[in-house]
């Protein structure tokens, strides 16, 4: 490109500020090629594809810079989407096209319901197979955007006679939407800075692990489509503030509606946009454009958001939405004052002004106080982090974020995005105020809770792109700059320094691409339904115990059988085994979960009473002691005890499960309560006869996860019988015997019913949530 003959034309284009785009070109290519290569072959070779994109550009429009530019942008954007899509396919290539984790199974199941029974049937769906015997109103307790999107795509494809299974649509939905996210990030960054930064931002967001973590193929979850909706809403908002046209604002409202239908995180938008308007007012940047944009957005957006059944009347009731209303009122007052100012004399106006301002200030102050003390602050600081409500604290995503997580998910971007923020604030305008507020609020939320890293990631990509693009803008293409105005030849820093800086920067970006590929491949691409283990020679074993067990349930049990398990596996049992569950990952009823926890942590006869009262037919547990899988039920057991203790403090006591020294041990020294509780017995039944590692010096009954020989090898059941144990013992299923099979009883005992009352204590509804098996990811080795 540098040897191009037609330099005059190129120069104009470069000097018009689009040079960052050129910078974006080359490393867009690097990343695209790295990831495409990485995902298919498993080893990444940065920069393997030489100058393909560049040549396309050269042949096209040397005489037409605009055409040349758009062709180049288009191809970079396309490559970014492609890279984003293909780097999310690790799991599909290694395993198969399968739904991952826990929540996606529920989403998949409801999408399936939607496509088979139609939209209205889905909205009215009462699922009697979950939360037995309570059931769950699904239509009114989900954000339907995800299911409707997948269902719509499936419908359109089938209309075109491209017959795909709904499962494949679900699996590949998130990668496809990541491409759309890249495009909307490009658009937003272009509005904020310039085209070059936009292209860089698109490349970043396509491969950054912080976003990939929620959007790999198979992770069919709300966040996958919500980030696209978030970015697109912000783009349309910035556009409407810039133009002041109702057209863009209505677009923004529609996009906001989509976001509301997709994810609970829409609250972030409805607080950030009013904040933007408020700060613009404070900075005396009020204009008609802002007035039109916000007034339209608030009213139309409010009405639209209330159409989602799950949201309902929340937007006019709850404190999270009050800031938007307050700012709306303030904006009207401000506009009215402006109007009066033109009509009244100075003296009259001043009196009115003071009256109005004091009123408005008081109102805003009250709103903010109210908001701070009841809403966001309490929710984010006190509730999630400080008071350890066991069921919330037990979810690993609700923890605060260490710097390692930041670095792991964002790598170079985390250190460079403050520079982008600096540039934005130094050259402030209306829309850069927005991005600065976005960055500051998102970084706060990401610090409080790991899962909100997701909302930080897009803004980090955008601001880092701004930083890198401003460096490339000044340090690339030095030759031409110096040739043009000979009298200003002294201006440059010299080609040597410039090329060194450029090289080093490109190297950093290359490291970033390599890091992203590695993280995606190693940390975020395991389906957790199918496990893989590696031998010493690098060959892979697939452990398919989960699906084996679920399929067994599906084939060998009664259609209406009720399966008790810990809540993590509820969605999977419903989705894969198609059986009724007692509790699942939608942890809306704490007392029901506590009851299951109590059954698991009581001794067999007490547990049997609970299980009888809940009509349990089968009990399913996860046991990792044979293969050394650390995410099993014994390791989660203390949470069961804690949750049970929260509701039944008289019957279950956490301290009973510890040794006098305060240790949690499964061997002989363990506490007798633990060694005789139902969970322990079910996990280790017949395990005492088993020699796990042949040839090694371990005794029979050696638990590889906890590295201990179990303390109770003589386990006999009275009310249960083993029904199924999977190949690697990962899943064990027990059948609860009917009363007939008990030893002969006289009729007095039969009338004994559980006397304790199960008091119910409501815990606020949690937004989804699954157990991340991070511990396992770090430590699991199979040899």
């Amino acid at each position: 490109m540098k040897s191009s003959p037609n330099k005059g034309v190129l120069l104009q284009y470069w000097l018009s500020g689009a040079l960052g785009g050129w910078g974006g070109t080359s490393d867009g290519k690097h990343k695209a090629s790295t990831n495409a290569g990485g995902s298919v072959h498993g080893n990444s070779r940065p920069g393997a594809a030489g100058g393909g994109g560049g040549k396309v550009g050269l042949s096209g429009g040397l005489t037409q810079p605009a055409g040349w530019q758009s062709l180049l942008s288009f191809s970079i954007l396309f490559l970014a989407c492609l890279a984003g899509f293909s780097s999310r396919l690790f799991a599909v290539i290694r395993f198969e096209s399968i739904i991952h984790e826990f929540d996606p199974w529920f989403n998949y199941r409801s999408t399936h319901h939607l496509t088979t029974n139609g939209f209205y049937e889905f909205l009215n769906w009462f699922d009697e197979r979950a939360w037995y015997p309570l059931g769950r109103i699904v239509g009114g307790t989900v954000y339907p955007g995800l299911m409707v999107t997948a269902g719509l795509i499936h419908y359109v494809l089938n209309l075109l006679h491209i017959t795909v299974h709904i499962r494949d649509v679900c699996v590949f939905l998130a990668p496809v939407f990541s491409g759309l996210t890249a495009i909307s990030t490009f658009l937003l960054t272009r509005e904020l800075w310039n085209q070059g930064a936009g292209l860089l931002a698109a490349c970043f967001i396509a491969i950054v692990p912080g976003y990939i973590s929620r959007s790999v193929a198979g992770s069919f979850d709300n966040e996958g489509i919500a980030i696209f909706a978030l970015q697109f809403t912000y783009y349309l908002w910035v556009k409407s503030v810039k133009t002041g046209s109702v057209f863009w604002t209505i677009g923004c409202c529609l996009s906001y509606f989509y976001m509301v239908s997709a994810w609970g995180g829409y609250v972030f938008i409805i607080n950030l946009i009013p904040l933007h308007v408020f700060v613009l007012l404070l900075m005396q940047r009020y204009s008609r454009r802002v007035y039109i944009a916000y007034s339209t957005f608030y009213i139309v957006g409010l009405v639209l958001s209330m159409q989602i059944p799950f949201v309902g009347f929340q937007p006019i009731r709850t404190s999270e939405h009050m800031a938007a209303a307050g700012v709306f009122a303030l904006l009207q007052a401000y506009a009215f004052l402006q109007y009066l100012k033109d009509r009244l004399t100075r003296q009259e106006f001043q009196t009115l002004f003071f009256l109005g301002v004091s009123l408005a200030a008081g109102m805003v102050f009250l709103t903010v106080i109210y908001l701070t003390y009841t809403g966001l602050y309490v929710r984010l600081l006190t509730c999630y982090a400080k008071i350890h409500i066991p069921i919330i604290a037990s979810v690993s995503e609700h923890q605060p974020t260490t710097w390692v997580s930041f670095f792991f998910d964002l790598h170079i971007l985390v250190c460079t995005f403050p520079a982008g923020l600096w540039f934005c604030i130094k050259n402030i305008n209306d829309e850069r105020v927005f991005v600065a507020l976005y960055a500051i609020s998102a970084v706060y939320f990401a610090g409080v809770m790991v899962r909100l890293m997701l909302t930080l990631t897009p803004v980090v990509c955008m601001l880092s792109a701004v930083a890198f693009s401003s460096v490339f803008e000044h340090y690339m293409g030095d030759d031409t700059k110096r040739e043009k105005p000979p009298e200003k030849a002294e201006e440059g820093l010299g080609p040597n320094i410039k090329s060194i800086v450029t090289m080093l920067m490109l190297m950093l970006l290359m490291m970033f691409a390599v890091h992203c590929t590695w993280v995606t491949s190693n940390a975020y691409s395991s389906p957790s339904v199918v496990l893989a283990s590696y031998n010493h020679d690098g060959t892979r074993n697939i452990l398919d115990d989960f699906r084996e067990a679920y399929y067994w349930l599906r084939q060998n049990t009664d259609e209406h059988a009720r399966v008790m398990s810990w809540w993590d596996y509820g969605y999977q049992i419903a989705g894969m085994a198609n059986r009724t569950t007692l509790v699942d990952n939608n942890t809306w009823n704490n007392s029901h979960i506590a009851l299951v926890g109590k059954a698991m942590s009581s001794n067999e006869s007490a547990a049997y009473q609970i299980m009888r009262s809940l009509d349990v037919d089968y009990v399913l547990i996860i046991f990792g002691g044979v293969i050394g899988y650390s995410g099993d039920d014994i390791n989660k057991f203390l949470w069961m005890v804690r949750i049970a203790e929260g509701e039944h403090p008289k019957d279950i006591r956490e301290s009973d499960y510890f040794t006098p020294q305060g240790e949690f041990r499964v061997d002989k020294a363990g506490s007798p309560t633990l060694l005789n509780c139902l969970m322990y017995k079910m996990s280790y039944y017949r395990f005492g006869e088993m020699q796990v590692r042949r040839g090694a010096l371990t005794p029979p009954g050696f638990d590889r996860t906890r590295n201990a020989e179990i303390g109770n090898k003589d386990i006999k059941f009275k009310h249960l019988e083993e029904a199924f144990t999977s190949e690697h013992w990962l899943v064990r299923i027990y059948k609860v015997k009917k009363l007939d099979n008990r030893e002969p009883l006289d009729h007095k005992l039969r009338s004994v019913v559980p006397k304790q009352k199960y008091t119910s204590k409501k815990v606020p509804l949690m937004l989804g949530g699954e157990f991340a098996l991070q511990v396992w990811r770090d430590s699991f080795r199979f040899s």
Partner: protein, 301 residues
């Protein structure tokens, strides 16, 4: 009847002490008379401790604060009766009690039930449950059937400090009311935004919520390690180092841009440029090596 008078005498005495201090201080004589000696219809919860400064027992002081919170919550609650009393025995005032009970560690919490002898569960499992007042209250509820709702004295320091800060800012703004340009200074705003962002990305919120130690000193070798070995946790010192590194990389990027755009003479700009790229590369690779040390199995340098 003499037993009854003795009992009522004892209860009156205890009530009188309890009305003065919610935690009754006991020495050997008092302990033997009011806790050990038979006619007794009240439970006593005793903290055995060593609060004298020369004992240098930091845990005792913290446990004492929590115990005071517990006792005060009981003393000033509407359900206060003469069924339960809180008392403490200091090692330096009642070492004979320690000998009598064959006790060699402090702090220890014991419950002396109104009837019968103390059992195993009347010794509070400090190692397991910690000494938070809430945990102690649960133990008390468990042993004596007295429910105590913990009421902590509200901490006025935070709001007071905030109010003071706001007043100071307001005062400053008022004093400089003819010269408010600093409010429009972009660098000030940009700088404070950067500070906030850097504080957050270096994990200070984690520190705030989890309260880790500043650094870890290995007791056997005396070596101080500032970096936590696991990727799941961090020390305060470590986050400060990371904050500094992040700031240095950011500054490097800004310097690079300044070097290309400012109108200073060329020599200075070259120095700026070299310094900028140096900062970026040096501190980023440093950061990467710390990350590598923490995240086991990370293959790149």
């Amino acid at each position: 009847s003499s037993v009854l008078t003795l009992l009522s005498e004892k209860v009156t005495q205890m009530m009188e002490w309890a009305s003065k201090r919610s935690v009754i201080r006991m020495n050997g004589d008092k302990f033997r008379r009011f806790v050990k000696a038979p006619p007794r219809n009240y439970s006593v919860l005793i903290m055995f401790t060593a609060l004298q400064p020369q004992r240098q027992c930091g845990v005792c002081r913290q446990a004492d604060e929590e115990f005071q919170v517990l006792a005060n919550s009981w003393r000033y609650s509407s359900a206060f009766t003469n069924k339960v009393f809180f008392a403490s025995v200091d090692f330096d005032e009642g070492s004979d009690v320690f000998q009598m009970l064959n006790m060699n560690s402090a702090p220890t919490f014991l419950h002396f039930p109104s009837k019968g002898k103390p059992r195993k569960s009347d010794t509070y499992e400090l190692q397991v449950r910690g000494f938070a007042a809430e945990q102690l209250a649960r133990w008390v509820a468990d042993r004596t059937d007295v429910q105590i709702r913990i009421i902590r004295p509200p901490n006025y320091a935070g709001p007071l400090l905030l109010g003071f800060l706001l007043a100071a800012i307001g005062g400053l703004a008022y004093l400089r009311r003819h010269n408010l340009e600093f409010l429009f200074n972009k660098s000030v705003w940009a700088f404070s935004a950067l500070c906030f962002v850097l504080i957050m990305t270096s994990g200070q919120m984690w520190n705030h919520i989890r309260g880790p130690p500043y650094a870890h000193k290995n007791p056997s070798t005396g070596q101080v390690s500032y970096i936590h070995g696991s990727s799941q946790a961090q020390f305060v010192a470590e986050t400060h180092i990371v904050l500094l590194f992040n700031a240095a990389v950011t500054m490097g990027m800004v310097l690079l841009c300044e070097a290309a755009t400012s109108d200073m003479d060329i020599g200075k700009r070259k120095i700026m440029c070299v310094a900028g790229i140096g900062l970026v590369m040096l501190f980023f690779s440093w950061l990467l090596s710390i990350f590598r040390a923490k995240y086991h199995g990370y293959p790149y340098r």
